[in-house]
Symmetry: C2
Subunit: 176 residues, 2 copies
């Protein structure tokens, strides 16, 4: 059985949308997803002038728990389990306070993913799988498996080095 | 640079010793490490009659934070980093409440291990490394790298299938 490693943020959980909402609410801005074409939310929380205003919100309990599920992901992941060994792999070690919340988020939305098939890591080059689905090229670059798939996100639109998937229906067609 | 995946509980952190202390304190028993020759503490928390009495203690905040560092591990891991890519890999997803504490425990005792080199997982067959050091044979069985090392523990004394290391000084001699 081939193994798939599936990312969480912006693949299963809509982190970008929530970040934009928090930005707009706290900074009085009016960002929308197209404004994020050249960078991702990890970069957004780095600049000092923003960081000081939003970090308490980003790091306070409830942020990751509040993320919406990406459409069709639950149904398609469930179907993938019949043909593949499915692992959820999140680079969550950067945000230690997110670890429990991410586990609980999976319990709530993906209860059919056993704890044995969940990974919270940092550098994803340590992941051994046949297929990986991720929105960050840094997680695909050192992937040793046969099929790295770039999940479409505003911050990766200009990347042409990887096969792109734009939604879960497309993943279903491609892999099932 | 070759990559080493190092387990936490009973390799870096003395979980068995703390479990025995809690058992004795809460059940009025007088266990010591040699009583654990045939099973490990994961099994100990399963039987219902014990579970009901100790689970609150095992799952309450502070358990993993309180674990002592295995002798010489800090110094040897630091030396290993000069020759190897060192990753800490803990099968912590079974205990979601341990995730933050384990991260903080590493911050405290192994601050030189970057978050990128930390992994909290379930089934370790997803780990790609050249060398793995672990006290559980289930984590060595499906290892694809060249050198699986069994870290000596009361519950694995009868295992003869793997090269055994009994302490960190021995690991230093073997790998450096």
């Amino acid at each position: 059985m081939k193994r798939i490693a599936i990312d969480m943020d912006d693949v299963l959980a809509d982190a970008t949308q929530r970040i934009i909402e928090l930005y707009n609410k706290n900074l009085g801005t009016n960002f929308n997803k197209t404004d994020f074409d050249t960078f991702d939310w990890h970069e957004l929380i780095v600049p000092e002038e923003y960081l000081s205003k939003v970090r308490n919100i980003l790091f306070e309990p409830g942020f990751f728990a509040s993320l919406a599920v990406i459409p069709d992901s639950v149904e398609v992941v469930k179907k993938l389990q019949k043909k593949y060994e499915v692992f959820i792999v999140s680079a969550a070690m950067e945000f230690p306070n997110s670890l429990l919340e991410k586990s609980q988020w999976l319990d709530k939305h993906f209860p059919f993913i056993h704890w044995k098939n969940r990974v919270m890591c940092g550098d994803k080059s340590i992941i051994a799988a046949d297929i990986i689905i991720d929105d960050h090229t840094k997680n695909l670059e050192n992937f040793k498996g046969e099929l790295p798939l770039l999940y479409d996100a505003p911050h990766n639109r200009k990347i042409t080095d990887y096969q792109r998937v734009t939604n879960w229906k497309e993943i279903e067609t491609l892999l099932l």
